[in-house]
Symmetry: C2
Subunit: 196 residues, 2 copies
């Protein structure tokens, strides 16, 4: 009974709510209300609560991928890695609930997998990082370790920033910068080793 209730509109609405009340408190009821429809009508579109979360996760992944592409454009190597990291943190700070939906989609789709195509949306982000190390002397395995490290680092800071970030709100970003520099220094020393 409104303008077209599209999947994207549902995702946007859910995203606003998730950012406001936390991803874990996302409910069909509240999203439906904001869309001015009833819960069963929303269920018609998303199947169930996990479906809603999944829709949000996929939508958010698209958004983040777009931001990351923009952030890394024209940069290369560790410089680009750094940009991707900072952009991720920034997004997580601006959209804590949405950010969590990405992790949820990645971690929690497999079990009760109603729909198959869901899963690998997230993987794009991993692949972006991968590409940045493709021409180094590091082995595939090493790169995959590093990717996991970055993902962990980013995720950890995102969670900290999203939930509390006690002290200054900018603290998390500052800490991330610092750790990023440590990590990058470590990678550089690894690259030097390999050269020897």
């Amino acid at each position: 009974m409104k303008g077209d209730v599209t999947i994207d509109l549902i995702a946007q609405t859910a995203g606003d709510i998730a950012d406001a009340v936390g991803f874990e408190n996302l409910s069909l009821k509240e999203v439906a209300a904001k869309l001015e429809i009833k819960s069963p009508s929303l269920i018609f579109h998303v199947k169930n609560l996990n479906g809603l979360k999944s829709v949000l996760g996929q939508y958010t992944t698209r958004l983040v991928v777009a931001e990351l592409l923009r952030a890394g454009f024209g940069k290369s190597g560790l410089d680009a890695v750094s940009a991707l990291g900072k952009t991720s943190i920034d997004f997580a700070v601006r959209h804590p609930g949405m950010y969590e939906s990405i992790q949820w989609l990645n971690a929690y789709t497999e079990p009760e997998n109603d729909e198959k195509p869901d899963a690998r949306a997230f993987q794009q982000i991993t692949e972006m990082f991968f590409a940045l190390f493709k021409d180094t002397k590091l082995t595939e395995l090493e790169v995959s370790h590093i990717i996991r490290g970055f993902r962990s680092l980013i995720h950890g800071f995102a969670v900290i920033a999203g939930h509390k970030g006690f002290g200054h709100p900018s603290d998390a970003a500052e800490s991330f910068d610092y750790c990023l520099s440590l990590f990058l220094a470590g990678i550089r020393s690894k690259l030097d080793e390999t050269i020897e």
Copy 2:
């Protein structure tokens, strides 16, 4: 109607269930059933679902602190840091649900804070890491950055390991070792810098 239902017994039971079904699926109902009491009786002990999670989080924190103390005993400096990190990952792999309860307790106590004393259980772990850097030339702020980095790294890997760890199950631990070495190398170079 069983042997004494103590808070610790409740926590252990909840921990088993959380590890089995995932922290997010922890329910009063199932814990009560395993304890052979009814939900309202369990609520008498823990107040509500968040109370149950909180009890689990505090219990797990105690366990982990004990393991960390053991792991770090007799070691010093980055060597000890490394041991704490590995021990944390190991715990998270063995007890994914319980591990998440620590994070939950830390991140999600503040808002609907029924009970005050809850919160700072987690902080002990942070303090253990802090102690290891107390005698270096790093500033308080730098150390706090590093702590956050470690926490993030550990958390990220724990999540990966707990949820999927695709490929070999030992993969996460291996990745963590690798990243740990990068991070530590970064710290060492920072320490050298400071000396100059």
